[in-house]
């Protein structure tokens, strides 16, 4: 058995890499998969907070790499799911504490017993990013519907292609349905047009995400009680497993007349 290594990256900071990592891992664990997340953002760790595991950290990734503990000891078991684990980043070190070859070693060991290894990449294109993609089988690029985030995603895709880790698949996060339907936000079509890679998910802006992150409760667990972002993450998990899941309609519910005018403006 050999697990799949998935890296979540973006170039730009603040677009939602950590949120996507936590929710995707949760959604896959809910499907009964064995999942471990790795926080590769050494020095600025966050994933533990979003997953609600901050107070359980004893050992971290750097301890594993430097031989202070066994890999298993650094894997923190999730509170809610049997087969979901987190390997946290060290907070008191920096990116140079880990090398790309360290990441390959760690991931190869994890592949033996896990179905998915999901790596949360730091922002930027330097060492931390190189570490995060070193062992990757599949790269997910997260972007927002804004020009600067798309520009950085384009740069990252170029770097991934140069490393022959491509092509990668795209997640568009924080899409505001009402702004999209008014044509005030970069549309998904615009973004795909520029980046020319395959889309794997669109996540609507949803205040439950922020609430969930602060409480350490990924929204992917939320039921069908209106948490559309949770459904979006579960859809991505399905697509990662090779299912054909149709994309949700992220446009706001519009009146007959605005739909008519959309029809004419196209």
């Amino acid at each position: 058995m050999s697990g799949k290594v998935i890296t979540v990256t973006s170039g730009k900071g603040g677009v939602g890499k950590t949120t996507v990592t936590a929710n995707l891992a949760t959604a896959l664990a809910m499907r009964g998969r064995k999942v471990v997340t790795i926080d590769a953002d050494i020095g600025l760790r966050n994933l533990d907070i979003v997953m609600g595991l901050e107070n359980r950290i004893v050992y971290d990734l750097v301890d594993v790499v430097e031989g202070r503990c066994r890999l298993r000891q650094a894997m923190i078991k999730d509170k809610r799911h049997q087969e979901l684990y987190l390997i946290p980043a060290a907070q008191t070190r920096d990116k140079s504490a880990v090398s790309p070859s360290d990441m390959v070693l760690v991931c190869n060991e994890l592949r033996q017993e896990m179905d998915y290894i999901i790596i949360d990449s730091p922002a930027g294109i330097e060492r931390g990013f190189r570490n995060a993609i070193a062992a990757s089988d599949q790269i997910l690029i997260v972007t927002n519907p804004e020009v600067s985030a798309v520009r950085d995603a384009d740069r990252i895709i170029g770097l991934i292609e140069a490393e022959e880790k491509g092509p990668g698949r795209l997640i568009v996060n924080r899409v505001k349905p009402d702004m999209v339907s008014r044509g005030e936000m970069l549309s998904i079509e615009d973004i795909i047009d520029i980046l020319a890679i395959q889309l794997i998910g669109v996540i609507p802006e949803d205040e439950h995400i922020l609430i969930g992150s602060n409480q350490g409760q990924p929204v992917a667990m939320n039921g069908t009680n209106g948490a559309s972002a949770g459904q979006a993450f579960r859809n991505i998990a399905g697509r990662l497993e090779g299912e054909e899941v149709p994309f949700m309609d992220i446009r706001a519910k519009s009146s007959f007349f605005s739909r008519l005018s959309n029809l004419f403006s196209n």
Binding site: I125, R151, D154, R155, G158, E161, I194, A196
Partner: protein
């Protein structure tokens, strides 16, 4: 007598190969290099440079001076190709490579085999616009943000040039795709250079010493255009023939 022959600069797979005069004092050589970099800085910018110094012995301090000179011009000196053994040792101490991969120079020196310069075979004349006999560089891929491409002749790109990418050519630039990044044609001073694209919507266009930006046109429909210098400024015209 301190009059040295001029420098030879050529593009190689690893970036730029600059061959310096072997006669004349170090200071003259350095000044010559400085003048060259100052003049063509924008064209070379960001390149990795291998410096061929021939038989001229160089001290570590002199190599450091050269290294600094390149850094000042936003270039990276990565290799020193020297016939003199002591110079090679100094270069190695500075973590510089002393041979090009794939060249037939062994680590103990001997002259590096040099490809003849393209077509005209002589030292390039820098003050002239590039001759039309420069090779055309054909690239069949999309240039994403952060990619930089420079070539002394013409460039043809089959693919898009995305915003954040830059293309710098001594001659013309043709983009069979969408041009959304920065293109500099005639970068060595050729005002007759043209830029054309199936969709000409760049962040900035430069031809020779002229700079133009694209007017903001919401709802524009893509169409092929060609940009040239007319009456001292860059004009883009719709291609319909």
């Amino acid at each position: 007598m301190e009059q040295a022959q001029s420098l030879n600069v050529k593009g190689i797979r690893e970036g730029l190969l600059i061959t310096t005069a072997t006669d004349g004092s170090f200071d003259v050589m350095r000044e010559q290099l400085q003048a060259e970099l100052g003049q063509k800085g924008a064209f070379f910018q960001g390149s990795r440079v291998a410096l061929q110094v021939g038989a001229r012995p160089l001290s570590k301090a002199q190599l450091l001076q050269l290294q600094r000179l390149f850094i000042e011009h936003n270039l990276e000196l990565w290799a020193i190709l020297a016939d003199d053994a002591a110079t090679r040792i100094h270069a190695r101490e500075l973590d510089l490579a002393i041979r090009l991969a794939g060249s037939n120079t062994d680590l103990d020196g001997n002259t590096l085999y040099m490809e003849p310069a393209p077509t005209n075979g002589k030292v390039a004349h820098h003050n002239q616009p590039p001759a039309t006999n420069h090779h055309v560089l054909l690239l069949k891929e999309t240039l994403r943000s952060g990619r930089s491409l420079s070539h002394e002749g013409d460039i043809v790109i089959m693919g898009d040039v995305n915003a954040g990418a830059e293309v710098i050519a001594g001659g013309d630039v043709l983009v069979w795709g969408r041009l959304r990044g920065l293109v500099h044609a005639g970068a060595l001073g050729d005002e007759t250079a043209v830029i054309c694209a199936l969709d000409l919507n760049p962040t900035q266009l430069r031809i020779a010493n002229q700079i133009a930006i694209t007017p903001h046109e919401p709802g524009r429909t893509p169409h092929p255009e060609q940009a040239t210098i007319k009456d001292g400024q860059i004009i883009a015209e719709r291609w319909n023939r």
